[in-house]
Subunit: 267 residues, 2 copies
């Protein structure tokens, strides 16, 4: 892992996909100008989180990803392209891409846990629109070993743990909690994952839009391996930054060797 500045782009998606991607690129450029070597976009960053519309926009992703790849190569940075609805063999996936500074795709992650819930105020069935991914992987990059989860994936400790056991030092999580789950569980869940796995986590939400049917929580944040919130956004569109430091991580793992104290023999 390398010392690096990470940018979390809490962007407010527009209803026009192309214009949203334009905006994402503008925010990426601003992040890079401010010294970020890793920029992370939110879940479904190019449209408000409405399942039907998202499904209708699903395609092979090439046009969107190519624009991200071009920016990564031009700016010589890593970019996590939030997530994109990808249509593949007649199925839709909620998929994230990590693009490296040569413009190459380093890692893909398709959301593995679909958000099917029945709150009185919010009933949603992601499984009617997406099929889940089937793998949890990490990739060794020039800035550290990185894994990706998407939103609801973070609630399952097994998922982040699997990435940690592969050596993840940073987990990037494009996410869109809401009015109900955000205030109740956003901070606890992301901070606990960082603490128990002793790694950096980027939780990146769309900005909150009070007029939207599904109101994202906002509050994007970078969490340290000790569970500290290094920086946190409000509800509006903004870019926040955090410094990731391999010495902080190894220092914490040295003092409190949680990963070594696991009892694989009894789980």
């Amino acid at each position: 892992m390398k010392k690096i500045k990470m940018a979390l782009c809490q962007m407010k998606p527009l209803r026009d996909k192309e214009k949203s991607v334009d905006k994402a690129l503008t925010m990426i450029e601003e992040s890079a100008e401010n010294g970020a070597g890793l920029v992370v976009l939110p879940e479904i960053f190019y449209h408000p989180y409405e399942l039907k519309s998202i499904a209708s926009l699903a395609d092979d992703g090439k046009a969107t990803i190519d624009r991200i790849r071009e920016a990564a190569a031009r700016l010589e940075i890593h970019i996590c392209a939030g997530s994109i609805a990808i249509r593949e063999n007649g199925k839709n996936f909620n998929r994230s891409y990590l693009v490296g500074p040569a413009g190459d795709i380093l890692l893909e992650h398709s959301k593995c846990h679909l958000f099917d819930v029945d709150f009185k105020e919010l009933r949603t069935r992601e499984s009617q629109v997406f099929v889940p991914g089937d793998s949890l992987k990490t990739v060794e990059t020039a800035i550290g070993k990185i894994g990706i989860l998407i939103c609801y994936d973070i609630r399952f400790p097994e998922a982040a743990r699997k990435l940690a056991l592969q050596g993840a030092e940073i987990i990037l999580v494009p996410a869109a909690f809401n009015d109900i789950t955000g205030p109740a569980h956003w901070h606890i869940t992301f901070r606990a994952r960082a603490v128990e796995n002793q790694l950096y986590i980027a939780a990146v939400s769309p900005a909150r839009d009070i007029k939207a049917a599904y109101r994202a929580y906002g509050h994007s944040m970078a969490v340290s391996p000790w569970g500290d919130v290094l920086s946190e956004a409000g509800e509006d569109e903004e870019i926040i930054y955090a410094e990731l430091d391999p010495e902080v991580l190894s220092n914490i793992r040295g003092k409190l060797p949680l990963l070594k104290h696991r009892r694989e023999d009894i789980y």
Copy 2:
């Protein structure tokens, strides 16, 4: 599971084991008078948390446990006897007991993860004094399915998860976080375990003693399956209460079926 009032006894242990047990029994009686059907004591409730002294007090536990059993039978309540240093076949265990209203021992748990850490301000090696337990079990009782973890065990999501998958509705956790780990991780960790497993958690600490070598954090708390802190102690000796309600638990699991959404095929 049954609707029940739970008492968490944040007692300050004395240096005299017998007198500490006397005090524990007094607090148990007060809890029962106040309507508690389940009373939980802290980790090593009969002596300040000093490893050498605790080791020298280790025995077969019978005298201590018998007094707890007598109280449980007399008051017709469930009691979790915090934890006791048990000497068995030449080895010491940090072990907790759940005693039922007939005075019978319903469940034992020996701490499975030993706290060996190297903070600048706090270096400790539980493994020099204790050997770890080897199992994670639950028991069906008249008030619900209960599991026990002890302190450091809670940091490992696999442990609480294993109890949840056995059907645990309540996890009792005698614990003694400290000056460093308490402020940083006590709330996050216990609340996250409750949220991700959707069950009640009792985190029961000794009262804080600023003159002690190892200063327990205090802040005993009962956490709901939604992660809400139902009641929380300060630093001093006190009993706090919380109502456990099976309807709350099943309602949460119905709306947000986390345990059903686990992807065992990919972990």
